[in-house]
Symmetry: C2
Amino acid sequence: MTKTSAIKGNAVIGQSGGPTAVINQSLVGVIESIGRFSAVGRLLGARHGVRGIKEEDFIPLQRLGKKKLEALAVTPAAALGSSRDKPDEVYCQEILNVFRKNNIRYFFYIGGNDSADTARIVSEMAGAIDYELRVLHIPKTIDNDLRVTDHCPGYGSAARFVASAFMGDDRDVTSLPGIKINVVMGRNAGWLTAAASLGRRDKTDGPHLVYVPEVTFSPKQFIDDVDRVYQKLGYCQIAVSEGVVDENNKPVAVVLAEKFGRQVERDSHGNVQLSGSGVLGDFLAEYVKDQLGKKRCGKLRVRADTFGYLQRSFAGYASPVDQHEARMVGRKAVEYLMSGAKNGSVAITRAKGKPYRAGYKLAALKDVARLIKTMPRSFINNDGNHITVAYRNYALPLVGPLPTIGKLF
Amino acid sequence: MTKTSAIKGNAVIGQSGGPTAVINQSLVGVIESIGRFSAVGRLLGARHGVRGIKEEDFIPLQRLGKKKLEALAVTPAAALGSSRDKPDEVYCQEILNVFRKNNIRYFFYIGGNDSADTARIVSEMAGAIDYELRVLHIPKTIDNDLRVTDHCPGYGSAARFVASAFMGDDRDVTSLPGIKINVVMGRNAGWLTAAASLGRRDKTDGPHLVYVPEVTFSPKQFIDDVDRVYQKLGYCQIAVSEGVVDENNKPVAVVLAEKFGRQVERDSHGNVQLSGSGVLGDFLAEYVKDQLGKKRCGKLRVRADTFGYLQRSFAGYASPVDQHEARMVGRKAVEYLMSGAKNGSVAITRAKGKPYRAGYKLAALKDVARLIKTMPRSFINNDGNHITVAYRNYALPLVGPLPTIGKLF
């Protein structure tokens, strides 16, 4: 299909899943490029993702001034509203009905692997009834766990926040020495937790220990690790992913809750609610006090912070690299459609060698939908309690400038 | 006493209490100015505050290069190490012995009201034995609760972090609508919690409710407030100070723990451990679900974040105004000594009118020591659940630039 044969019609764009600090960059990337694509009549924003489509809750997105667009682009979270709906076939049929009714021929969906799957299903259903529809998935997730793409828009900014938080907190922990546990987002993959180490310059700098879901978490090993670091340095800063599980694949939050006779909340899928709660950090701190406190006559300062939603939503501290790339994936989505693409997921590529240079390509929806990408074993040290130089080389170019740290000793 | 009569001797500087993002600016302010004060021989840094003095754990602070000093200045937390020691008379006597032994005649102590009290005691004890000693207290605290000074170095940066966090989180809460509780530091005063409102532009912006320790917290009123906002807007963002107490002056964390049959940790003074734990936020979220969830058939998204130590330690996001003023109070401390001051606490003044202009003066140690300054009632609305314009006018000049926020609806 060539540009000239593009069918005339309207376009809809939606945002889905957990927001990021740059998800609106991608939205603006589409808005500012769509005017060049003459086949598209109106560009409609669906409020709250697929639900907004189903309910025809649209707002017009053309005629927004440059200043308004730039303010929108630097604003965290989904300006259109997001959704956790995971449409089944009936739901997708309703979406398709709305598309036909409004002559929508172009569908941009900014989201993670679930959104890619929705895009795939809608695209296939349209094909089955010969309704000409072009569907472009635009990636976003702070979890960085999408396949094909080298990394995900949204990750660099969350990683910058986490790295900077650990850098400052490390100085705080050495000021009033003790054991500090910081719980980082990421249920299935350790990408964001790994970013805790990006500001580290030598072995005295925290984090001294990093635990990711890719490695089975052993509470006993954890205590031995903490004890060893604390004995050596007199303080210990620890990064723990909210998603760590034990050898039975049981969330550590649950294991420790049972140990201390407590209950934890579960969602409708039976998953322990980890984000928006301090439960894992508090249990881990309690466990460390319980195991190591007696040994030191109770003179052990143990604290836990759960970084929570600030990791994806903190305003004014996004990675400039991430902002640029998130804008680019939006622009590229329009370009791919203009060059005749029927559907796909925009992916970021990385040129070999230094300095860091990103490129873009179109991946098949089926290669991105539903699947997740965990960290390769080479990014995790042999003991499973820290991150390697290979990871640093991968992630450092994505976060932009990190703070300056000076020390007296 | 005039400059020419200043006694020759060495100087010591220490940092105390909970660190801030700019406490090292004050340290650098003293280091870079001390060379102009010919009476001072060596400038020694005491590691971990008064404990470092008692144990003669000193590091020399002169001959540090400009580049190293500037890196130090922008680094959060206490570069010399901090201390929670609250010296009694015996402890102060030991300090004085160390001063005499090392011919220390100048003592700079960067800290809060406890540090001002230590400075006062040491100064009085030196006077009682006719040991000529000059003692300067340099203010710092993210709690902003020191007397005399218009505001405290450290507050503007913590307030900037909190304001920006609420701005981004507000967008996150409207993306995936629900009830969001954010717990902010401040055991006795609501200054930092009030900063949650600094990025607010209209009544739809969060935080929609702000609870500070200056006003008795009524769990029933809280639920009514949240219900009203949620019914009106479909979402609700709430700022709660970690230090809120009920009508019996009982910490709300304890009240709710008892309601849910849980235990909370207490420190050696019997205070509930609030920082470094998600307990208050988790209990409040549970309480909201318990009270409002049934009414809405359980379809209520309630989340809590506890901002924790990031508020005082986050690297790379300090307020430029705060950085400057924190540097200035260090420089002024040296100036006051050079002009013959015997002791005192450096205070910031504010010129009447706009634009904002800070000045500096020397306050008496006794007027700062031990005492705390809560928010005036005029900074809190009549209902005790939000902040007034008077507070905004007071605090906005202190935080520096806030992020840009754009909206579609």
